[in-house]
């Protein structure tokens, strides 16, 4: 019976989109807010990737004669500064586009570090339990006791601000959420028949973990990673805002905000636009993350 149903689908007419493996993508696409989030993130990603092409001006080129031009102002050659210029005459739009590069670079790298650390510790904690579990979970409590931002600025204050240090600090401090969720998943997977069967059949621990547990713990991990990206981007901007981020003249959203704060009473656009960029990016990520969670695992509490 079943084979009969399958042969109805002629070779060559199968649409990749209607395939079984894309079912989750179709479900996700039906959620309009998640789709909106995806569009926003794609746009930010494109802005970052094509910043050199899209930006109308050099983001670090100063022109004091053009300083603090309001949005929509033009320079003497008639070139438009759509979002105005800053206190050094740099084009805000161009700087915002290039700022997306740092935000996403730190975002992806730090999430990769935090996600890997959390995955490994969560797997070990959940799979082996006992003392291993106690150790990592106490470590998690200690990590959580520190206000994120305070620990980050203290460490970067000592090590000195640089792109590498920021990625490492933000990444290393973010492992706990992943570890806790992965641990929870492993605890329930460990008791499932297919895992017990693998153990009974004599699979070694690494094989059980890599072949049977990791693939099944992956989706909750992905949801956390998506939502965590938002946290990381805000943290990077906060560090840049405090002067402990990537150093000038490299354009960062947080750094632009800090500049803008000084000129708040005379030039509102300096602080407004980079902040909007952060807001829109984070909102897009949150919407996509919420959509992924609702599609994959509605009971996941994040």
């Amino acid at each position: 019976m079943e084979t009969g149903a399958q042969t109805l689908r002629l070779p060559g007419t199968t649409d990749w989109w209607s395939g079984e493996s894309w079912a989750w993508a179709r479900r996700l696409a039906r959620r309009r807010t998640a789709l909106f989030g995806l569009v926003v993130i794609t746009a930010v990603g494109a802005a970052a990737l094509f910043a050199p092409v899209l930006a109308p001006f050099d983001p670090v080129e100063q022109d004091i004669s053009q300083r603090l031009k309001p949005p929509g102002g033009t320079d003497e050659r008639g070139r438009l500064h759509l979002l105005g210029t800053d206190h050094l005459g740099r084009d805000i739009l161009s700087r915002s586009l290039f700022g997306a590069r740092i935000a996403l670079l730190v975002g992806f790298s730090a999430v990769a570090i935090a996600g890997t650390l959390g995955l490994v510790t969560g797997l070990l904690s959940g799979y082996f339990g006992g003392r291993v579990d106690d150790f990592f979970m106490r470590l998690a409590d200690i990590q959580l006791a520190f206000p994120f931002i305070l620990l980050a600025i203290a460490v970067i204050g000592v090590l000195g601000p640089s792109l590498r240090n920021i990625i490492v600090v933000v990444g290393v401090s973010g492992w706990v959420v992943y570890a806790r969720i992965v641990r929870g998943e492993v605890l329930s997977l460990r008791e499932r028949e297919f895992v017990l069967a693998a153990v009974v059949l004599g699979s070694a621990h690494p094989r059980v973990i890599l072949r049977h547990i990791v693939p099944n713990a992956f989706t909750p991990w992905l949801v956390i990673a998506t939502l965590d990206m938002a946290r990381v981007i805000v943290l990077e901007s906060a560090l840049s805002f405090l002067g402990l981020g990537v150093q000038p003249p490299t354009p960062t959203w947080g750094g632009m905000l800090a500049d803008g704060r000084v000129y708040l009473s005379t030039a509102w656009w300096l602080a407004t636009f980079p902040g909007l960029a952060i807001l829109v990016t984070v909102l897009g990520i949150n919407l996509l993350g919420d959509g992924l969670r609702d599609t994959f695992d509605p009971r996941l509490k994040v």
């Binding site: 106490r138 470590l139 409590d141 200690i142 959580l144 006791a145 520190f146 206000p147 994120f148 931002i149 305070l150 620990l151 600025i153 203290a154 460490v155 204050g157 000592v158 090590l159 938002a230 805000v234 901007s237 906060a238 805002f241 405090l242 002067g243 402990l244 947080g254 905000l257 803008g260 704060r261 708040l264 009473s265 509102w268 602080a271 407004t272 902040g275 952060i278 807001l279 984070v282 909102l283 949150n286 919407l287």
Partner: protein, 305 residues
């Protein structure tokens, strides 16, 4: 019950010990704390003398032991900048931080719980959509930008509220809103989803069926059970709030521990940095211990774990 409390207490002590290790390590991250603590133009002779005087030549475990003993007695050394005991400086600034955090949390709860309930009761109406969108934006808004925008509108634009310093109630409005918005948004969404879950349950239907008024069903029967996760998150949110206070206090020149610690980092005043990080983290641990203990009274199932 007693074993649970004892175990919970032991856990907190271990965490506090861990905090002391991290705070100790911060200063030793570069290998030689002498160079961090002395001005950059110090001579080689001064450096060597200082290193000996501070005991930085000793093995690390000995140095840590000394640090821990000092910390237990409340001695983190003198602030390099102010030449006063670092811990005393932190305690002086603590009331300002607690005031700001408490008001922000209070405002968040006062706004978020009714908004979440209304959103759940009038599910899928315009009212629900508006508050959901506001909550989403509130969660995506970076604290520092929100603070700056509020200053732009209410201080620079409308001249309604002061943009910096601590004083009367007017000074508190903008910092408290800035600090509290994220928490408001989070608690609101939590209340909404909690209420939705509870409102669909049998005992609520029973209450309605036997003729209990809708207001009583929502505020008494449903809220009581939907409130349990809210209590937990209040303890955890304190960490977010104390972290947020670092940024908020910097923006609004609020004379609290957060601003003190940021300035200490700029001034490379490490004893002060260590004292403030240690105190803030310890407060978080103690509050969560209290929350957990209170929680066992609210939900006796917890004790069994």
């Amino acid at each position: 019950m007693k074993t649970y409390l004892l175990r919970r207490l032991a856990q907190s002590l271990i965490v506090l010990l861990g905090i002391s290790v991290v705070v100790f390590v911060i200063l030793h991250l570069t290998g030689d704390p002498t160079l961090l603590l002395l001005p950059p133009d110090a001579s080689a002779e001064e450096i060597a003398k200082f290193r000996r005087a501070m005991g930085f030549d000793d093995p690390l475990y000995l140095q840590y032991w000394r640090f821990l003993r000092g910390a237990l007695r409340g001695d983190f050394g003198n602030s390099l900048r102010h030449d006063e005991p670092a811990l005393a400086l932190v305690w002086q600034r603590m009331p300002a931080t607690l005031e700001l955090t408490a008001v922000a949390l209070g405002v968040a709860l006062l706004l978020a719980i009714p908004a979440g309930i209304v959103s759940a009761v009038f599910r899928n109406t315009a009212l629900d959509y508006v508050s959901t969108v506001l909550a989403l934006v509130g969660q995506a808004m970076p604290t520092f930008w929100l603070g700056i925008m509020l200053i732009l509108v209410f201080s620079v634009g409308l001249h309604l509220l002061p943009s910096s310093g601590r004083g009367g109630a007017a000074n508190l409005v903008l910092p408290a809103v800035t600090l509290g918005l994220f928490t408001t948004a989070r608690i609101m969404r939590l209340t909404r989803s909690g209420m939705l879950e509870v409102l669909g349950q049998d005992y609520v239907r029973t209450a309605r069926a036997k003729g209990v008024g809708e207001r009583r069903v929502v505020w008494k029967h449903a809220l009581k059970n939907a409130g349990i996760p809210i209590v937990t998150i209040v303890g955890l949110e304190l960490g977010t709030l104390l972290g947020g206070a670092v940024i908020t206090e910097t923006i609004f020149a609020w004379p609290g521990v957060g601003r003190l610690s940021v300035q200490a980092i700029y001034n490379r005043d490490y004893p002060l940095v260590q004292a403030s990080v240690f105190v803030l983290a310890s407060i978080f641990v103690l509050v969560n211990l209290v929350v957990d203990v209170l929680y066992t009274y609210l939900d006796p199932r917890i004790r069994i774990r």
